[in-house]
């Protein structure tokens, strides 16, 4: 079969951070081609390049063997590339027909709407969808909205259909239904690209799979001829040598999370009886496919959200699941959130302020009447030196000017300044280079040696494996399996996907 979409040597960086590092991809007409990889592997970025949303720094794109340059999404649409994004691009108060018209403009509104309605009905009939062109988007379920997105792209004449994590928002039955339709669509000659991190979907519905890791495409193979183990290994990478540490002593229980539940604003249950405990001097790793409640667990532990039921019991303090931040600080909980610039730093404020803010209440930097700025600057200079924060010209400069790794060191310097009893670290090395990553890991190990209880939530399985004394696998808001060190990587990988 002929090549439909071909990307070669695509590179793309955002403000210095490399998202795509020479990625290549080729899909054919009549095929469902899966793009598999962990979160942050670069799958969506690569497809956004194909859809004309990102202009690549280097690399080439060709359609049906002809090299093209995409000046934007409209140009991609003209070349027959249609993308259904993970977050739908629909105008909620508009009807289906109006939304489709918006994406596929016609010269006149009244005749355009008639024309579009006919085109929708034709597509809906062929795909055996059940959507009415005159319904408003806001009255539709997520699965129906997704059908609108697909119809919108097909009415535009797409020959190459890119679906970004289409099953993430669907129930199992809806997902199977959708993927069967997508498979039929491919059989009729469309080139379908299925971006996913779900191994089962790939095994069951894809004709070819390309695996991405760290912004690179590492392999393209036939999913029917490769084992799940092989695919898992390619996705998560090879095991790295472990850092040196003392064997775990088995102290008293420091933190106990009991039957924690949390339902998000949109009605999705993100934490469903999450339970585990951590002893003093222990690193408890939480592994799992992203979106299974890890983010919400971290937010509940650091107090960004309030769980609907359950408890977070802390040795010597009691239940803190609904405690104020002041009380959490008193209990010496250190928070290293995944999203540094949302939860840990105020980018527009000076480094010294960002370091001092957690200890203002203690009176270390003066009373209510007057703050001791000199002391803040002094302490900040010491912390910057101790924690090897690079790129600091003065402690008065904005925190946002630091690179990711150094910003993370700054967060750790603040959070570790008071000998924490409990450390909650969520993807602490995300976006860091090897050296900064090693420094962060070393700090976590040091806290462990000191007797702190550490929760390490990470989508990077290597990180979890190399640091944890015990590992809990999280799936659909619950811990579905626990593994003692040394844990079997493949067994964990299976536990992650079996429940996902």
């Amino acid at each position: 079969m002929a090549s439909a979409l071909k990307l070669v040597g695509i590179r793309k960086s955002f403000d210095g951070a490399l998202a795509l590092d020479g990625a290549s991809f080729e899909s054919r007409a009549g095929e469902v081609h899966a793009l598999l990889g962990e979160n942050g592997a670069g799958k969506s970025s690569l497809m956004n390049v194909a859809a004309g949303l990102y202009a690549p720094d280097a690399g080439s794109i060709s359609i049906d063997g002809v090299p093209i340059a995409l000046s934007g999404p409209a140009a991609a649409r003209q070349h027959g590339i249609g993308m259904v994004h993970q977050h739908f691009k629909l105008v909620k108060p508009f009807t289906v027909a109006e939304n489709v018209l918006l994406a596929n403009p016609r010269p006149h509104f009244a005749s355009g709407i008639r024309n579009i309605r006919a085109a929708i009905e034709k597509q809906v009939g062929e795909l055996k969808f059940s959507i009415d062109p005159d319904r408003r988007i806001e009255t539709m379920t997520v699965a129906e909205q997704q059908q609108v997105e697909i119809v919108k792209v097909l009415v535009g004449g797409a020959k190459i259909l890119i679906l970004d994590e289409p099953t993430a928002v669907l129930t199992d039955a809806e997902a199977v239904g959708l993927l069967e339709i997508v498979q039929r669509l491919a059989r009729s000659g469309t080139a379908v690209v299925l971006v996913t991190h779900k191994l089962q979907d790939v095994k069951r519905f894809a004709d070819a799979v390309t695996i991405m890791r760290g912004g690179k495409t590492v392999a393209t193979l036939d999913p029917r001829k490769s084992s799940a183990e092989e695919l898992t290994e390619l996705t998560v990478g090879q095991t790295l040598p472990l850092p040196v540490r003392t064997p775990h002593q088995g102290g008293p229980t420091k933190l106990n999370v009991g039957a924690l539940c949390y339902t998000r604003g949109d009605g999705r249950t993100m934490l469903n009886n999450t339970s585990f405990h951590i002893r003093a001097g222990e690193i408890y790793g939480i592994a799992g496919v992203s979106g299974n409640g890890q983010a919400e667990l971290a937010e509940a532990l650091i107090g960004a959200i309030e769980p609907s039921s359950g408890e977070i019991w802390l040795d010597g303090t009691g239940d803190i699941s609904r405690a104020s931040q002041a009380k959490r600080r008193e209990a010496a909980i250190a928070a290293i959130p995944a999203d540094r610039y949302t939860y840990a730093l105020a980018g527009s404020l000076p480094i010294s302020d960002n370091l001092a803010v957690a200890q203002i209440r203690s009176g270390r930097y003066g009373g209510l009447i007057k703050l001791d700025r000199a002391a803040m600057r002094r302490d900040a200079a010491t912390a910057v030196k101790d924690y090897d924060v690079q790129g600091v010209r003065s402690v008065g400069q904005k925190a946002s000017l630091l690179s990711g790794g150094n910003a993370q060191k700054l967060v750790i310097a603040r959070e570790f300044s008071r000998q924490p009893q409990v450390v909650v670290a969520h993807s602490p090395s995300r976006g860091l280079d090897a050296r900064a990553c090693a420094a962060v890991h070393q700090r976590l190990i040091a806290a462990r040696e000191r007797g702190a209880a550490i929760v390490l939530i990470s989508e990077d399985l290597d990180e979890v494996l190399s640091l944890s004394d015990r590992i809990g696998v999280m799936s659909r808001g619950a811990i579905v399996g626990e593994f003692e060190r040394p844990a079997d990587r493949q067994a964990i990988g299976r536990a992650m996907v079996d429940h996902g």
Binding site: D15, G52, L53, A55, S71, G72, P73, I302, G303, A304, Q325, A326, R328, R329, A335, P337, Y341, T342, Y343, A344, L345, A346, G347, S348, L349, D353, V357, A358, I360, R361, G366, G367, L368, I369, K370, L371, K398, S400, L401, R414
Partner: protein, 358 residues
């Protein structure tokens, strides 16, 4: 750097917008300054078109700086500085207080109530009136905080609309219980001499002292105190502030109360110095002036004092132009608006770099 898709590429090259990472304070000041000059130039052109040559304008501006006119400017400056403080304090924590007029009205009503019900000895009467005014302004804005926290009512709408509620409540008093019995005008009876803000020498009104005290207090609150430190985190990143243990709710409440108190004091100053009684219109137009001053001073209480003075100069000049050149008041307001827009666009230039790629 965020580089959105090209805006236009029709042979001439294309325009791109980059988000700036950092800009030195000097360059920022230069951007604001040049925008201000640009806005003034447009204003001058409009005035010239309305029949006032720039040279005449310059001589009118110079005339403002004579001792007699300067006194008028300082009287005008006191309430302007206070409403500027009220707006800038609230804006610092992202609370869009557009209810300055309502808070001024309640400040005036509370102060007048002390006079009308003859509360306290003569010696401390003014102090009591001032405190009551601050309390009145604070309570009126805290009502909005309650609505926002309890019912999630947007504060822009709530503060703005409550201005009308305050205004009609004032009318209710002035056409009813508090109407001047002697003249039957819709005004309160005049304040007694010891209830008025008098001169402190050189013909300067003591209202200015209240404004200066307000500037010092707000400057301390923002730049030196612990709450001021908290406010920087609350405005920079409220979610992060909460996580690191900043008492977001409490600090926000105090700052908003201080904002309302400043506006209440502005009401008191107008009632007790210029008007000498509760009138219908002592708060008119101050929302816009407050927002303008806060905006031009980039919410810094110390700069508010300077900008408040300059706006007072503009007001007095505007009055002269009205009297001697038949320029309508709306013209003066239009010039204010032009200056606001010019400074607003400088904000955009500070955050973005525009480049022309060929």
């Amino acid at each position: 750097m965020i580089s959105p898709a090209p805006a236009a590429s029709r042979g001439l090259g294309r325009l791109t917008l980059d988000v700036r990472q950092d800009l030195s304070p000097w360059k920022q000041t230069a951007f604001v300054g040049s925008s201000l000059v640009f806005g003034l130039a447009i204003s001058l052109a409009i005035l010239a078109a309305a029949g006032i040559p720039p040279l005449t304008l310059a001589s009118e501006l110079a005339a403002v700086l004579t001792a007699e006119n300067l006194r008028g400017v300082l009287v005008q400056a006191a309430p302007l500085i206070l409403v500027g403080l009220g707006a800038s304090l609230a804006f610092r924590i992202g609370f869009w207080n557009l209810g300055i007029e309502g808070q001024m009205i309640f400040g005036g009503i509370f102060a007048a109530a002390i006079s009308i019900y003859d509360v306290g000895p003569q010696a401390t009467r003014l102090l009591l009136m001032g405190s009551a005014a601050a309390l009145g302004g604070a309570l009126w804005v805290l009502l909005v905080v309650f609505l926002k926290r309890r019912f999630r009512v947007n504060e822009i709408i709530a503060t703005l609309l409550l201005n009308y509620v305050a205004m009609y409540f004032l009318f209710h008093l002035l056409y009813g219980a508090w109407q001047d019995a002697k003249t039957a005008f819709p005004q309160s009876s005049p304040l007694r001499p010891f209830e008025r803000l008098g001169d402190i020498g050189y013909g300067i009104n003591s209202g200015l002292l209240i404004a200066i005290a307000g500037v010092l207090a707000a400057g301390w609150l923002i730049h030196l105190s612990r709450i001021g430190f908290y406010t920087r985190f609350i405005s920079a990143n409220p979610r992060m502030a909460k996580i690191v243990g900043v008492p977001v709710q409490a600090a926000t409440l105090w700052i908003i109360a201080a904002s309302g108190a400043c506006s209440g004091l502005a009401g008191f100053v107008n009632v007790a110095s210029q008007e000498g009684r509760l009138t219908q219109s002592y708060a008119n137009g101050y929302v816009f002036s407050g927002v303008l001053i806060a905006f031009l001073s980039r919410n810094d209480p110390v700069v508010v004092a300077v900008v408040g003075f300059l706006i007072a100069v503009l007001f007095i000049t505007g009055q002269t132009l009205q009297v001697f050149y038949q320029i309508p008041l709306t013209m003066v307001q239009m010039i204010e608006a032009i200056i606001v827009m010019a400074v607003a666009s400088s904000e955009f230039l500070i955050r973005h770099r525009i480049r022309w790629l060929r």
